[in-house]
Symmetry: C2
Subunit: 311 residues, 2 copies
């Protein structure tokens, strides 16, 4: 299959006939926005996680899987700077899964939900008739915080590009236990005017590419500024890991240089924010190496349709 995840998403978005008044944000952002009357709107997202792809039940506990399934959607709520409200969860059970397994899963789901005031309000449990593996799908919705929701498409030439936390090496274990940046996103959005935001699910290179394409801009990243995680530093290729591993679930956002400096000066953590580059008019992604050399940066993060693309 030659089509990429982003290509098929674009095709779906092109086929969609959503009325802008009812659906101010449609297919292709972290969440869709649905207008319910003049004053009320909700945002919705869904994520499917599969055994052997997003987790490995030979190593992860079901509590960790329940936690991760919710945390991935909570991270989408963060990416729009919205407040999680409620979730429904559907699961496909393999043979041998019983009451005890469902209770462990439920425990992880509620630990993640309660941390961010997001209620589990319903679900669907079904069982494969054969040896097929475990799958879990979460749909979550959120409401506006005091700020406007932040889309991917608002980046402007000259914007500073920032990330929270550190990147790379999440596959070592962090991907099961990460903290969705819900509180940080809302705090940032209420301190400064953010132009574009996404959560890093598939890797910095791929998710920055999504902001660039949605906004019709380019970007240049300064290698020396990328906050590489300790796990990535211990890997064979720390920079590659930070750029492409994915599942960091950190925030990646852009804002005008003045607002950027104001944020960096006033931000009091505890999660660090780092400016890693600048939005450009080149319409391509570039990376500045320590020796000053500038080369093109390709989106080489995880593609859910193609699997990993090798560097």
């Amino acid at each position: 299959m030659s089509v990429s995840e982003d290509e098929i998403t674009a095709w779906f978005a092109g086929k969609s006939k959503l009325a802008a008044a009812d659906f101010p944000i449609g297919i292709g952002d972290d969440m869709a926005q649905i207008q319910l009357g003049d004053d009320t709107c909700v945002f919705i997202t869904t994520d499917m996680l599969l055994d052997g792809v997003h987790f490995d039940l030979q190593q992860a506990t079901l509590e960790q899987v329940g936690y991760k399934a919710m945390a991935v959607s909570l991270s989408d709520c963060a990416a729009m700077a919205t407040v999680p409200v409620a979730a429904v969860v559907s699961v496909a059970l393999p043979e041998g899964f019983g009451e005890e397994e469902l209770k462990q899963l439920h425990s992880g789901i509620t630990i993640a939900g309660e941390k961010f005031g997001c209620a589990l309000v319903g679900g669907d449990i079904t069982r494969w008739g054969d040896k097929s593996p475990f799958a879990i799908s979460v749909a979550m919705f959120s409401r506006k915080a005091g700020n406007e929701p932040i889309k991917r498409s608002g980046a402007r030439v000259g914007d500073g590009i920032c990330v929270t936390g550190s990147l790379g090496g999440a596959g070592g274990g962090k991907h099961l236990e990460f903290e969705p940046r819900v509180k940080e996103a809302i705090k940032i959005a209420q301190m400064v005017r953010v132009n574009a935001m996404i959560d890093i699910s598939d890797g910095l290179s791929s998710d920055l590419n999504r902001i660039c394409r949605a906004s019709g801009v380019g970007a240049i990243i300064d290698v020396e500024r990328i906050p590489i995680s300790d796990e990535a530093k211990r890997s064979e290729e720390p920079l590659n890991s930070a750029l492409n591993d994915g599942e960091d679930f950190e925030l990646l956002f852009t804002l005008c240089e003045k607002e950027c400096q104001r944020l960096l000066k006033k931000w009091d953590g505890p999660v660090p924010i780092t400016q890693i580059g600048t939005i450009t008019e080149t319409k391509k992604m570039q990376i500045k190496m320590p020796d000053g050399r500038i080369s093109d940066l390709e989106a080489r993060g995880y593609d859910h349709l193609k699997g990993r693309c090798e560097l």
Copy 2:
């Protein structure tokens, strides 16, 4: 595994700490209700459908599967007499599924959605790393029609028990092409005061049992009044088929005898409504045979955790 789907749902509901003001209807009904401010609420449901369980891709087309996945959730909207608004769809793709397969699936999804004004607003596409089969999960939300939403728990002793359409034999093909009773549900709810309603997904016996348990009542069904479908009539056990096959996706509802008579008199179709029995105080389900003999009726429809229970 000895636990049934209804038992585990009850366990989840018992663990849930939903505030009644924010979540007037929680786990255990066809949809959950979420209050968003004083005047606005939404309802949400989710359903997971698996290849080999809910459809067989060796016989069904992907367009039919997309249609069915949406129609199952649309039927939940009908069961509450609410108006479908929007859906998100997540899919797990087997090896070999490409752009063409996704487009066929999308076609079925939008055919079902457009029929009832329900927009596809987002989704998640992911791929198994091995030969695992196709799975699709839909989360849908709806809004209030002019009427109050109808729960499972409102049935009262003396209520007439009614169904739309005819029952049994849906596995022969109807389960892929059924018409969710969205319009009928709202029309009924605006004509008369309905006390309890559910859609028949797992079989008349199992879904009537859910109304009885949620309402703390019993029921007696008159065998001669059950509208048995032509497909079921051609089967070896037509009555068993009508009681337990499931996937009819017809409405099953109760209302006081006076309202029941008024509805039956005024109803002008085209989908027929039949009174099949009466709600009783026995707290058990009974069935009256043509010879006048009354015996206990057990919930023998489909259980998604145990698979089919044999009679």
